[in-house]
């Protein structure tokens, strides 16, 4: 069978939970060998989308393929070829590291099980801890174990759901180095994250809010596509606070976001923004200069621009 160009190709994916639309006509194309970042605020539908991709949830609408297999009809095939790392640690905490890996190896019917498990332990630096119970591992080690487990059956596509949440920067860096190695060997990776530095390490990105795909493409394309102008204002902290207050609601200044000792002011109307920023900065005695908007500016802008969908309120217990 000829390999399709796209490891993931879906369109119109829609999922509702009790009338609440959680994923709304979502479409995505991920090229083979790409590391594809999946971003969006909490509750925007990332996990739900990933679950539909690997057959854990049935879409209410839409169609698509994963590795060329239909996500509705061929989920059994997809499960065999995909490595899915859940958002919450989902291996057995009362089994040791080695026992967890052996369990996974048996489930996938992996040949030469011992060897493969030993090799996986070695590669991830888990060999010395093989007898340790998974439940007693720290976040970073749990994440390594989970990755080892979903790589064991040599999948062609990795679906990673916030794999680095709560992991220290050093371990995150190692993790991403590893992902790039894998991608280099031909693995496709879809990874959801909240970290901007991780987003920038992806070949391409998709941004989702309220279940809707708002932007996709390379980081540069996403930034360019937002048509956003951003100014940075620097100076004395107290004066920055005054300026921030003054800019709220000023013409052109759609967003005012403090970044440490700087203020990022962005808007889609570049002319009006420039006028407002220079006026306020001059009044407060602050320096202002136009800058390239960052991904974070763009994402916040995208989310603000999208109205929260009106749904029938579901009261707890109601």
């Amino acid at each position: 069978m000829a390999e399709p160009d796209y490891a993931i190709e879906v369109e119109g994916l829609t999922k509702r939970f009790d009338d609440k639309v959680v994923v709304d006509h979502f479409g995505l194309r991920v090229r083979r060998g790409q590391i594809y970042g999946f971003l969006g605020p909490n509750g925007s539908g990332k996990t739900t989308t990933i679950r539909m991709l690997c057959g854990l949830l049935t879409p209410d609408e839409g169609r698509g393929t994963c590795l060329g297999f239909d996500i509705r009809r061929e989920s059994a095939r997809i499960k065999r070829e995909v490595g899915y790392m859940t958002q919450r640690f989902s291996l057995y905490e009362d089994l040791s590291i080695a026992e967890n890996l052996e369990f996974v190896a048996r489930i996938y019917g992996i040949a030469r099980r011992r060897e493969r498990v030993d090799a996986a332990l070695e590669r991830l630096g888990l060999a010395r801890r093989r007898r340790q119970l998974a439940g007693t591992l720290s976040g970073g080690w749990k994440q390594r174990l989970a990755l080892a487990a979903c790589l064991l059956h040599e999948p062609r596509l990795l679906l990673l759901d916030e794999p680095t949440a709560g992991v220290d920067p050093g371990a995150r860096r190692e993790f991403w180095a590893h992902l790039h190695e894998l991608a280099h060997e031909g693995m496709t990776v879809l990874v959801s994250t909240h970290y901007m530095d991780e987003a920038e390490r992806c070949h391409a990105l998709a941004y989702i809010a309220y279940g809707k795909l708002l932007a996709s493409g390379s980081a540069e394309e996403v930034v360019a596509g937002a048509h956003l102008a951003t100014w940075a204002i620097e100076g004395e902290v107290a004066a920055l606070a005054t300026a921030a207050a003054a800019l709220k609601g000023a013409p052109g200044a759609d967003m005012v976001v403090p970044f440490g000792s700087r203020l990022h002011v962005s808007g889609t109307d570049a002319g009006a923004l420039a006028a407002s920023v220079t006026r306020v900065a001059a009044a407060a005695g602050l320096r202002a200069a136009p800058i390239e908007p960052g991904l974070e500016d763009v994402f916040i802008h995208l989310m603000r621009r999208t109205p929260e969908p009106v749904t029938v309120a579901h009261q707890a217990g109601g």
């Binding site: 679950r51 690997c54 057959g55 854990l56 949830l57 049935t58 059994a76 499960k79 065999r80 995909v82 899915y84 859940t86 919450r88 640690f89 989902s90 291996l91 057995y92 905490e93 996974v104 489930i107 996938y108 707890a316 217990g317």
Partner: protein
Amino acid sequence: MFSWSRFAAILVKEFVQVRRDRLTFAMMIGVPVMQLVLFGYAINMDPKGLPMAVVSADASPFTRSLVRGLEASGYFRVVAQPATQAEAEALVAEGDVQFVLHLPADFSRRLARGERPVALLEADATDPAATGNAIAAVQAVNQSGLDRDLSGPLASLRQGPPAFELRVHRRYNPEGITAYNIVPGLMGVVLTMTMVMMTSIAMTRERERGTMENLLATPVRPFEVMAGKIVPYILIGYVQVVVILVAAKLLFRVPMVGSLALLSAILVLFIAANLAVGFTFSTLARNQMQAMQMTFFFFLPSMLLSGFMFPFRGMPGWAQAVGEVLPLTHFLRIVRGILLKGNSWDAVALEVGALAAFLVAAGTVALARYRETLD
């Protein structure tokens, strides 16, 4: 220092949580209602209308009158008139009748001659509680059974000692030792409790800990999950059986006249049936607490309506109907039949069929309820 506000915080939270956990709420109402109904209406310590077979080699007004006398006591109900001893034997073994009345060929003749003939009443005394009162009632029949028929020249027989002797023969458990009945039954009760509980938690635990999501993302099939989770508990069940059998033998000296091999084979079926129930619960329960509650909800009628604690035949029809659905009911008949009566395959085949039907039904529900997705 006691703080009313902190106390109220806990109090309000508990109320909210209880109200939200619908199943717990339903159980708090459901369990007392169920207990009231079962104890109040279903259970009868004085079972009447017990099925009896009459093997009569002598059809005469006297014998008919004797049978009528037994029926008039309310404890006996003639359901079969087998022609041969062997047929009667099979009826007792399979539990279709509780009593067999044997009337010898020369009963009326010897009665007329004043020779005090003997009629034999065989009782299936595996459960002393079921037959105790009926046997006591026999004595009254002994005294007055034929008084009305003894007229004319036989009227003199009315005076003096009874005109015939109704001899009771308690089979299987002649001394009426309750332990003989309880201990084998306990095997079924223990298995029901532990097997249902273990498996009902097995799946809910996966869901509660989040490991279910990982499991579902693998190519594993529902039947593989079910079988893989059930088999270890079958082995645990066997360990329990061995413990109970050894205790029954050494501590309670329970007779074991039947084939232990046959019992072992049937045990697989019974254990699997309970495990399938547990598996079904675990697909319904949202957490381990709910799984435990469902287990209890199944266990209670199993204890009370199966004939373990109270004589099955003492229960009203609807309770017997519920009892017939429960695997424990059939298993009790099988295990008591094999251990105490020495029943062979033929005598237990029907009950085994009932167990098998239950297993198929429960297994089908369990597999149908098993979701391969998180929907």
